[in-house]
């Protein structure tokens, strides 16, 4: 709990100052709404935002799962094949210079306006940190452990299952946690490129209407979704990798 207090206080102070400044300067709500205006937008549009949140949360969750599955499968493949690793890993790194935003419209043309292009954008945004961390984690296996395992009847698969994979889990999860914070952004990109529902769609609709409060409210809900996903991943990590938490390194 002690870790929660400092950021909470800072956040509360920031919101307080924001409110004060906006009120004192008399900034109109459509330009830059005060926190209280955002709160009332949140209340007024609760139904609309709730339905949109469900759509976006679904895209985030499914796209993220897609990314995790694809990233882990690829990481294992790259781990087992040095040739593939040498050929593909540089290309993967290079591919990250492509701004995902520009891919979203192309994917919309390719896959239509349904959920599919959103899932693909989310997956593309999320998958890289997971792959890279997983490959690094698997390769960072202590050579002494591998030598030992070989003398203990350990074949390639046994070494992978019992030593390399569990040893790489902390790295895999740190990639997964980073990816979790990207997922929501990916879903919004996807929706902006063409959609008829979701938080991104709500934002697009609110903009010409100058319903800035609603945009902020949608951003807030989006943050909650991202935070929820992050918390879920962190919780999974605590369950799956309990030995890291016990301070076993000490």
């Amino acid at each position: 709990m002690r870790r929660v207090w400092p950021p909470s206080l800072l956040l509360a102070a920031t919101v307080g100052v924001w409110e004060l400044v906006v009120r004192a300067a008399g900034v109109p709500d459509y330009l830059f709404p005060a926190p209280t205006a955002v709160a009332s937008a949140l209340r007024a549009d609760a139904g609309l935002l709730g339905r949109a949140a469900l759509v976006t949360a679904r895209e985030v969750a499914l796209g993220y799962l897609l990314a995790v599955a694809f990233a882990l499968a690829l990481a294992v493949l790259l781990h087992f094949s040095a040739a593939l690793r040498r050929a593909l890993l540089p290309i993967l790194v290079l591919s990250q210079t492509v701004p995902t935003v520009v891919l979203a419209p192309v994917l919309a043309i390719l896959l239509g306006y349904g959920i599919a292009p959103k899932l693909v954008v989310v997956a593309i945004v999320c998958f890289f940190p997971i792959v890279v961390n997983a490959v690094d984690g698997l390769r960072a296996t202590d050579a002494e452990l591998v030598r030992m395992m070989r003398t203990l009847h350990g074949g390639r698969l046994a070494i992978f299952r019992r030593v390399e994979l569990p040893g790489a889990l902390p790295a895999i999860f740190s990639g997964a946690r980073i990816a979790a914070t990207y997922a929501a952004v990916g879903a919004i990109f996807g929706e902006w490129a063409g959609s008829s529902s979701g938080l991104g769609f709500v934002m697009l609709q609110a903009q010409p209407a100058l319903a800035t409060g609603r945009i902020f409210a949608a951003v807030l809900v989006l943050c909650a979704i991202a935070l929820g996903l992050y918390a879920l991943v962190a919780l999974t990590e605590r369950v799956v990798v309990p030995w890291e938490r016990k301070g076993a390194r000490a």
Partner: protein
């Protein structure tokens, strides 16, 4: 003859010649780490290998284990010289305990059994009696992080033993322990090997440890065997009497001299 808990290896261990090295040369990075080493360890014999760091001790164990091949000469275990055959017959206990933090003490000891395809429950059922017999009862379900250094080494040794191999390669097993714990573990290891006899190659920088635990001790210096000593002094009394026995003292002096 003590009854081995591990039925499989009693047959494997019996009647097979031990470990033999002939003219073994290993060059690593342009350096002759091993430069013509001849060694013989009879079945269930125990050979101590002492020497400074960098004398080639660990390289020698890697070769015997079949994890590495010599540049010249032959290394044979149980009469066969192929690396795969050596690997099939040797179990290595590395310098660090290398216990897996995601496994309990018992499950760490079970590694080799699981690697051979036994279901975990069955592996545990086979390993548990050894914990009981070798004084580790109660530690089975603890995670390695909660074990003392001495206990960790004991579990690491059980893990090595449970591979059911005829040859145990112990690489400075007690190097990281304090002197008191080390003496305690030396006694424990002697007792454990009396119960579960194996062919043992013990690498250590501690001459006394080698003389206490092995029947033969060789000194390795700059990649060559510079002394081979038969430990033919009584070793059953209390430790203080054993190590002050004139015969023991003389062996220690000869070993230390050869290390220089």
């Amino acid at each position: 003859m003590s009854q081995s808990i591990l039925e499989a290896d009693t047959a494997a261990v019996a009647g097979i010649s031990g470990v033999a090295l002939q003219g073994v040369v290993r060059v690593l990075g342009g350096k002759h780490v091993l430069d013509g080493v001849d060694l013989q360890v009879p079945v269930r014999g125990r050979l101590g290998i002492v020497g400074r760091s960098g004398a080639g001790k660990s390289t020698l164990l890697s070769l015997v284990a079949g994890l590495d091949d010599p540049d010249a000469g032959t290394v044979s275990v149980g009469g066969t010289a192929s690396a795969a055959a050596r690997l099939a017959r040797c179990a290595l206990m590395p310098q660090r305990d290398c216990l897996l933090p995601w496994r309990t003490a018992l499950d760490n000891a079970c590694l080799a059994l699981e690697n051979q395809g036994l279901p975990r429950a069955e592996a545990r059922r086979r390993a548990a009696p050894l914990f009981e017999r070798l004084g580790l009862a109660g530690a089975e379900r603890l995670s390695p992080a909660r074990l003392s250094g001495g206990m960790r080494q004991r579990v690491a040794f059980l893990r090595t033993l449970l591979a059911g191999k005829e040859v145990l390669l112990l690489d400075e097993p007690f190097g990281a322990l304090d002197a008191i714990t080390r003496a305690e573990l030396q006694q424990w290891l002697a007792a454990a090997l009396a119960q579960e006899p194996r062919t043992v190659l013990l690498v250590t920088h501690d001459v006394e440890e080698a003389l206490l635990l092995c029947e033969q001790v060789v000194v390795l210096a700059a990649g060559r065997v510079t002394a081979a000593l038969d430990v033919d002094v009584p070793r059953d009394g209390p430790r203080r009497e054993v190590v002050t026995n004139p015969g023991f003292v003389e062996l220690r002096e000869r070993a230390l001299e050869a290390i220089e």
